[in-house]
């Protein structure tokens, strides 16, 4: 089977399951309807495994060939711009697809166990089938999103996963907070999509396509033309907003969509509330797949990003990962802790993407998907086992009651904490869980950007001076002209030689890459140092709050005996946990990273943008010229620095958590009192919700209310006044001027001349109380009117004369009066 067919089929199968369950779900009931959904995602998973296994056997050129030859259908035309749809077949798709189907399959499996009790009931009515119907719809939408070859389709599926998220967060819609959370999620996402639409509009306008590959190609083409001669396309527009050029705004606009879906600051507020949904949903949608879609989007549009846009993305990611990790420290609801840690990890990914750590960010996405799904399922097991208790302060000591959950959860904690032994290798296998390597790599790239690249800039200053005149000619590319590639302005060959010289020099003390890529890297804006130190600090906090979560739940003494006595676990739920724990081990360096690296070769292959490879030796193997690799000069190697800086952060963070919580909550309470105001601020989630509710929601509703009043009082008021005036005039002309109708009327002109007015008046008063019995009369009136109209028509020549007279005389007189 062709790979693209297999993938497309895998998308459609859950859709079929959705329609089947939507129609027959109520009849199938519990638990049969879940089997349909499980079977559907199972088929998708099998198909994706088939593709993955075969894909791994292919060589890079073969893959490139397949990517290029993937089929596209005509879906429609936007004006004259063809809109095509097809499967974007590359390593990134293959691996994302596999990750989604694999995790989704096991979460379906888990859900069957989870929904066995009363978890499927909404106001005491079983909505079992509906849950699996939505899950199938979600799988369809998510897979569709992954395979989309066009921005428009990405957006369509983007909104559909948003819909599923809305439906599933609000699954227990009998509870007000659940439906509120659902609305909040949808609308916050819409705010992000507002930017997405505008970004898409810019793509359509300047690149005249919505196909991802074509857009990237045209973007690069326009850039090079602009660099050589007068600026063209998107670079010709000198408009700026907040100092961002239009080219940057395009990327930022698209990224706004990612900010909504991946819940990045300032749109992060919906994700913690989204925990109102059933826990499997939190695991699947709000931890592993959908929220990662934002990162996936940035990976897909990477080639359309300017350095400024990347910088913006990195800033947002850095802010998000910092504040959400801080908030996570004080949460007491087990799902909320996980939610905030998800936010923080998403922040890491987005931060990495913005830094150019394309491979590292996606690698982190993959590893995170496994361990976070597992952590959420573990929490689901705990919550279900503890009779729907989510407050960790009431748990404790559950280790004995649910050992499998406890230890799989611990693996998850280790993974997210970044467990690993830096520098220790057994054979070629580096020791550590996936999270260790992925986070390490993101930080390594951040180090490179913060410290090594600015130096690169300094040594390149001479070359810059040489290209100064070219820079000047670039000024018309806009204030924040993104790529001032000094050397690229020279004839190509000249640039080549010049850079070869530089390159020779660079090999010793600089990052490595093709001359062209090095030139782009040299022009990247310097990132402030805090953007490196914040993530480092958070690398210590993450292990702390995760260990705190684990310790409070599973260790110590039971704090609430009702909860403790009730606690139990079932194999239906812990089997997926064990599988995903295994996945956490294997989703590691050895398995996923090479494939993602391979994906980068194609997905970042653009002459306008540079991805930074955090691991040098892989680059040498792949030989891909699409990335630059880190500086490995002694004393400059980020990994050396990080080994000491954060290599053991997991140990320190987790250890500190144990210290604090070793003897129950006593010490924690003391600390809480010590840091009173800070604790309160964090507990109140830094007051984002308060401000948004008061200003944005309150403002909108109030303004809506004002509009409603305006419509009722002013607009309708004017209408009613006009009507009243008309009525008055009618009465006045009809009765007072024309003829006396009753006592008190004046009656000036005789009745013959006022027939029309009188009739109008009569009709007026008659039709105020229309009743079916008088239909005949109305029909007669209508007929009469028609007859009058006909008379008018037949006397057209008089009318015509009159009008012509009007047009010739009045018209010219008005003209003359105007003096024109």
């Amino acid at each position: 089977m062709q790979y693209q067919t297999a993938l497309a089929l895998g998308v459609v199968v859950p859709l079929a399951s959705f329609f089947f369950l939507a129609l027959f779900g109520p009849r199938l009931g519990k638990p049969k309807s879940s089997y349909v959904a499980l079977l559907a995602i199972g088929i998708s998973c099998a198909l994706s495994t088939y593709v993955l296994v075969n894909w791994l056997k292919l060589s890079t050129p073969e893959r490139t060939e397949l990517t290029a030859s993937a089929y596209r259908f005509d879906w429609g035309t936007l004006g004259s711009m063809p809109l095509t749809v097809g499967v974007k077949l590359d390593s990134l798709t293959v691996i994302m697809y596999f990750m989604v189907t694999f995790i989704a399959f096991w979460i379906h499996f888990f859900s069957i166990g989870y929904m066995e009790g009363h978890s499927d009931e909404v106001d005491h009515v079983s909505k079992y089938h509906r849950f699996f119907t939505y899950l199938s719809l979600f799988c369809f939408s998510m897979l569709g999103l992954v395979v989309s070859s066009s921005l428009l389709f990405l957006f369509i599926f983007w909104e559909l996963v948003g819909l599923c998220s809305y439906l599933l967060i609000g699954f227990y819609f009998d509870r007000k907070y659940a439906s509120n959370a659902a609305i909040k999620a949808f609308i916050t996402n819409r705010v992000g999509d507002f930017g997405f639409i505008l970004g898409m509009a810019l793509v359509a306008l300047y690149l005249n396509t919505l196909d991802l590959d074509l857009a990237a190609a045209r973007f690069a083409e326009q850039f090079h033309k602009s660099a050589e001669g007068p600026a063209v396309g998107i670079f010709a527009n000198s408009y700026t907003l907040f100092g961002f050029s239009v080219a940057s705004l395009m990327g930022i606009g698209l990224f706004c969509g990612a900010m909504g879906k991946s819940a990045q600051f300032p749109l992060h507020v919906w994700l913690p509330d989204a925990m109102a949904g059933p826990t499997p949903v939190s695991a699947l949608i709000h931890a592993a797949t959908m929220v990662a879609a934002g990162v996936y989007l940035v990976a897909r549009i990477f080639r359309l990003l300017t350095p400024e846009a990347q910088f913006f993305i990195a800033c947002i990611g850095c802010i998000t990962l910092t504040i959400t990790a801080l908030i996570a420290i004080v949460q007491t609801d087990i799902k909320k802790v996980l939610a905030y840690s998800t936010l923080s990890q998403l922040g890491y990914m987005i931060f990495g993407m913005g830094m150019g750590a394309w491979v590292a960010a996606l690698f982190h996405l993959m590893t995170h998907a496994f361990f976070k799904a597992m952590l959420f399922l573990g929490s689901g097991q705990v919550i279900e086992g503890c009779h729907h208790e989510q407050d960790m302060r009431k748990m404790g000591g559950l280790r004995k009651k649910m050992p499998v959950t406890c230890w799989t959860f611990f693996i998850g904690v280790l993974a997210i904490a970044g467990f690993g032994l830096p520098g220790v290798e057994i054979g070629h296998v580096k020791l550590g869980l996936g999270g260790f390597f992925s986070k390490d790599e993101i930080l390594a790239v951040a180090y490179e950007r913060a410290f090594n690249i600015p130096e690169l800039k300094k040594t390149d200053a001479a070359a810059d001076d040489a290209g100064e005149h070219a820079d000047a000619s670039n000024a018309n590319m806009g204030v924040a002209s993104p790529f001032r590639l000094a050397s690229d302005n020279q004839p190509a060959q000249h640039a080549e030689t010049e850079h070869s010289e530089h390159d020779a020099h660079a090999h010793g003390d600089h990052a490595q890459g093709t001359p062209q890529k090095m030139a782009i890297a040299a022009k990247l804006p310097a990132i402030p140092k805090w953007m490196f130190f914040f993530p480092i600090a958070i690398a210590y906090i993450t292990p702390f709050y995760m260990m705190r979560c684990w310790w409070m739940t599973f260790c110590g003494k039971p704090r609430d005996h009702h909860v403790y006595d009730h606690a139990h676990e079932s194999w239906k739920m812990f089997l997926p946990l064990v599988i995903l724990a295994g996945g956490t081990f294997f989703s590691s360096y050895q398995m996923f990273r090479p494939l993602i690296h391979d994906a980068a070769v194609i997905a970042t292959d653009s002459s306008t943008v540079v991805a930074i490879d955090g691991e040098a030796h892989v680059l040498a193997e792949a030989g891909g010229g699409t990335m630059i690799m880190l500086n490995h000069a002694p004393g400059k190697n980020p990994h050396d620095w990080l080994k000491m800086g954060v290599g053991f952060s997991w140990l320190i963070g987790m250890g500190f958590a144990v210290l604090v919580y070793l003897r129950g909550l006593g010490l924690a309470d003391k600390l809480k009192r010590m840091f009173g105001p800070i604790h309160t601020a964090l507990e109140q989630k830094l007051y984002f919700d308060h401000v948004y509710d008061a200003v944005l929601v309150g403002g909108t509703v109030t303004f809506g209310f004002v509009c409603g009043l305006f419509d009722k009082i002013v607009v309708d008021g004017i209408v009613n006044m006009t009507a009243l005036l008309g009525k008055f005039v009618g009465v006045f002309t009809g009765r007072q001027l024309d003829m006396p109708v009753k006592r008190g009327d004046w009656g000036i002109v005789d009745a013959i001349a006022n027939g029309l007015a009188q009739t109008m008046l009569d009709i007026g008063s008659e039709i105020r109380r229309p009743q079916s019995g008088r239909i005949r009369m109305y029909v007669m009136i209508t007929a009469g009117s028609a007859a009058v109209a006909l008379l008018v028509v037949l006397n057209y020549h008089r009318l015509a004369d009159g009008l012509q007279w009007l047009m010739s005389n009045v018209g010219t007189r008005v003209l003359a009066a105007n003096g024109s």
Partner: protein, 524 residues
């Protein structure tokens, strides 16, 4: 069938006669059958409009009119009024929409006897059918005078349908509707006559005066004369004066701010099926008027007025959405959402590009499918609860699961969710506006895109108030949607999905004509 289009227009009239003759108890059956047959007949006319059909000659605007029936009607002296009807890609989809929605509305009137206001079934169904003739005639007319007559024919039945069979404030609503529309038609009448004489002047011979709408656009002499800024009418530039008068006439029907307040009142008072027709078909006449009359005939004035028209469109989108947030009456909310959605149509039209026209036309059809569905959904619940106060509902999805699911689908279509019909029109209009050549177009697109957030807000809030929440005792024993109600909802739901997933087939019907119109506009 040589004159199938003429027959199509008068089929409902035949039904009307039958309704009047037959006993009252048979009225609804006859009406159902008539509208159904009309729908089937209109379906047989698809052929030429499918890709490769006779309507696809590419000869230019008006050159490939289908089912044309032209015959002298009133010829007195120089005055030539013809019976001239025909269909192209602009009117045909609207004809199908009309016959479909009217049929479904007739079905929605099936429980007429159970209405609180159910006097005179004969009268109701007779007027109902007369209304369909009026609408079909307006869409099919190629003679401006004929267009005007049908426009007026449509007005009267609607007035009675609201004024007789409406709710508590029916008189107010009916008169408001009547006066508003009448005010518009008066302006249209003036423009009509002025254009007639001006066409004679343009041709150099009053004997060659014409009411032919297509000729106005494609006859070079007339078109140039109409769009010449030195041509005057009462001192104003002729084309602009005509454009403004016609525009006001049509904008009342759309309705555009500030002439929109008749709509919420009319909807609130009108019975459910009449609301369906009003929202699904009648509002489209205004937009159709823009696309058929205003823009192809007076492109110069269109460009001149573009900024104002687009502003009105954007105000409609945003202001309508804000007003929705303030509503507590379910039907009033849906009515304001109609106002908001029709804003996209106007905005797409105003920018005068192919993407804009495509988007506007698609939005017309999409709204024509989704808004009757929403109004019917409101009607279903009104039939059971006998009130429409949003704040008193809740938990209906638990009480009526099938209804809840269909309602979610309908309202999400209205919300503009991708893969449903509302999305395509919106995104086309937004992208088109953003990419239009006017300097003000981009900010307009940004504001209009902002409207999409508000749309989500008021619809989701409404869904929460009505369908979500705990089951309430007073609604707990409501029967779920009946077979009849499901049968009415399914075609609209299916169309909403079909148009959203495969918009190509809808675009195929109209894109040819729309690009012809764009050529006419650009040619001048």
């Amino acid at each position: 069938m040589e004159h199938i289009l003429t027959w199509l227009i008068f089929l409902p009239l035949i039904g009307m006669v039958a309704v009047l003759i037959a006993p009252s108890s048979m009225a609804r059956g006859i009406a159902w059958m008539t509208t159904f047959i009309t729908f089937l007949v209109s379906c047989t006319m698809f052929g030429p409009f499918l890709p490769g059909g006779a309507a696809w000659t590419g000869d230019g605007y008006g050159k490939a009119m289908q089912f044309v029936h032209q015959t002298p009607w009133i010829h007195v002296g120089n005055f030539h009024i013809n019976w001239h009807v025909g269909l192209d890609g602009l009117s045909f989809p609207l004809i199908i929409l009309t016959t479909l929605i009217t049929w479904l509305s007739a079905w929605a009137s099936w429980n007429f006897d159970h209405w609180t206001n159910n006097k005179g079934a004969k009268g109701f169904f007779a007027l109902f059918l007369l209304l369909e003739t009026g609408v079909l005639g307006t869409f099919a007319s190629l003679d401006f005078f004929l267009f005007y007559i049908f426009w007026e024919v449509m007005l009267l039945p609607m007035y009675f349908l609201i004024g007789v069979w409406g709710g508590p404030r029916k008189e107010y609503a009916a008169i408001k509707f009547f006066l508003y529309t009448l005010a518009g038609s008066v302006l249209m009448l003036v423009a009509l006559i002025a254009m007639y004489f001006a066409s004679g002047t343009a041709m150099g011979d009053p004997g060659n005066s014409t009411f032919n709408i297509i000729d106005y656009a494609i006859n070079a002499k007339i078109h140039d004369y109409f769009n010449d800024t030195t041509t005057k009418f009462l001192g104003w530039t002729f084309g602009r004066a005509m454009f403004v008068m016609l525009f006001i006439g049509f904008m009342i029907k759309v309705p555009l701010f500030p002439t929109h307040t008749w709509l919420p009142d009319a909807h609130v008072e009108a019975p459910t099926p009449i609301s369906m027709i009003l929202a699904g078909v009648l509002l489209k006449l205004g937009a159709y008027g823009f696309l058929r009359v205003c823009y192809p005939i007076f492109p110069e004035a269109g460009k001149w007025a573009a900024y104002a028209v687009a502003t009105l469109g954007v105000i409609n989108i945003v202001y309508g959405a804000f007003c929705c947030l303030a509503q507590t009456d379910f039907k009033r909310l849906v009515a304001y959402s109609s106002i908001s959605h029709m804003g996209y149509v106007v905005l797409g039209t105003a920018i005068m590009t192919d993407v804009g026209f495509q988007g506007a036309m698609f939005q017309i059809l999409a709204h024509g499918v989704s808004s009757p569905m929403c109004f019917f959904l409101v009607g279903v619940i009104y039939d059971r609860a006998h009130h429409r106060d949003l704040n008193r509902f809740g938990g209906l999805w638990l009480a009526m699961p099938k209804y809840g699911s269909l309602a979610t689908l309908g309202f999400f279509a209205s919300l503009g969710l991708p893969a449903l019909c509302g999305f395509i029109g919106e995104i086309w209009v937004l992208l088109g506006t953003f990419n239009a050549g006017f300097p003000w177009a981009k900010p307009m697109a940004v504001i209009a895109a902002f409207g999409a957030i508000l749309t989500a807000a008021y619809i989701l809030w409404m869904i929460q108030r009505v369908y979500l929440g705990k089951k309430q005792e007073q609604y707990a024993d409501f029967p779920d949607v009946t077979a009849r109600e499901t049968a009415i909802l399914i075609p609209m739901a299916a169309l909403a999905i079909f148009m959203g997933v495969l918009p190509k087939y809808t675009f195929d019907l109209m894109n040819g004509t729309l690009s012809d119109i764009i050529k006419v506009i650009q040619g001048s």
